[in-house]
Symmetry: C2
Subunit: 203 residues, 2 copies
DNA sequence: CGGCCTTACCCCCAAAAGGGGGTTTTTATT
DNA sequence: AATAAAAACCCCCTTTTGGGGGTAAGGCCG
């Protein structure tokens, strides 16, 4: 029997999952939390094999929480269960130690297949996410940490000069990064750049 | 017995709702659809009293779909059930004829209370949304249709001149709108304007 | 019928962004 | 040790934006 814990703030969804897993013969729910804080308190006690983790938690980012869990409990397999099917989110989640990724509109049988696979130490991506990760590279934009930092500052409305002062670089360097970001994302100007950054969850 | 239909692409969530309602004594589920298209085919046949409607449908916006339903079946009470708790979305949903608004992290008992209230012809807002709607006016920004149109074009990266050509106005007029949008949203520049527009779901 | 909001228009000028072309150094990864 | 990528820097010039001022017609509502 696979021990499963769930962290998601959508109470209706956790109830749905709970009964779905309860009806199966391969897994059992050992705990449910509705926030990262609540989960931290009980995780050591629950000792799950698999943790179903939502990215959009109310208190901290699921990305950071996944990292935290894998550091403290490397033996737990994290299976992300979210509404996002953006490349940047999936990639960061896997980089942070997640073993699998399901999107919430997946079928019930994909959830069970995912639980079984990650419990056995395999990596599991649901169909839609699998397709996403295999897309041609030019559609799956990936930025360096510095580029993401700059993108964030730009989206906060700082000018090149202000950014330069804040991170102790030359304004000309910032211009260079900005031009490169426009090029990489194929954006016409800052308005589109910010829109794409948010849509693709790059910031 | 209240007849309830559900439209939501998150299959796990619809299953959770189905069992939640099935366990109650006041309502029964007469149908479930996972897209607007699927719902259109069956709605006349199901004849529900209450329709639980997700805003984030895969095919069309739940906002438009709500309007469509209320035009064709004004006797059905629409209860929005979504992840968004942005003023602009709630307001448009209610303007389009919805009788109530629940966010997905609401408790199970709020869902049942909502179904009961809207079936009785009342308006129902879950606790969090109720607080949101009662906030001071300056926090709940509302734009005229023209302003929203301009905001959309700006976020698509069009310059003042390009917008002027597209909607047959003087570039100076566009400048005026742009300045006013910056003022209304309290944005420093276009980057922040676009970010706020997306975050507050104004476009 | 007098506000008030929306829509639409205009000028001046400074600041910022964008298009084009480059160079160098450090840091991974093979 | 070779190479690739990231990070940092520079100049010229044009277009676009933003800050500051305005004006005025038409609709809505109490």
């Amino acid at each position: 029997m696979i021990n499963v814990a769930i962290v998601d703030d959508h109470k209706i969804l956790t109830e749905g999952l709970r009964s779905l897993i309860a009806e199966s013969t391969i897994a059992t729910v050992v705990g449910v939390a509705h926030s990262a804080a609540e989960c931290r308190l009980s995780l050591g006690f629950w000792k799950p094999d698999v943790l179903l983790l939502d990215v959009g938690l109310p208190d901290i980012s699921g990305l950071d929480f996944c990292k935290e869990i894998k550091e403290q409990f490397p033996e737990i397999s994290v299976l992300a269960l979210t509404t996002h099917n953006e490349y940047a989110i999936v990639r960061q989640m896997l980089d942070n130690g997640a073993s699998g990724y399901l999107i919430k509109n997946a079928m019930a049988d994909e959830v069970m297949a995912g639980i079984e696979a990650v419990a056995a130490g395999e990596t599991f991506l649901c169909h839609e996410v699998d397709l996403l990760m295999k897309r041609p590279a030019e559609k799956n934009i990936w930025l360096s940490p510095r580029e993401r930092e700059l993108l964030l500052l730009i989206s906060e409305g700082l000018t090149n000069t202000e950014i330069a002062e804040q991170i102790f670089l030359s304004p000309e360097t910032i211009r260079g990064y900005r031009k490169n970001l426009l090029l990489k994302l194929g954006a016409k100007n800052t308005a589109v750049l910010v829109k794409m950054a948010i849509e693709q969850k790059l910031i």
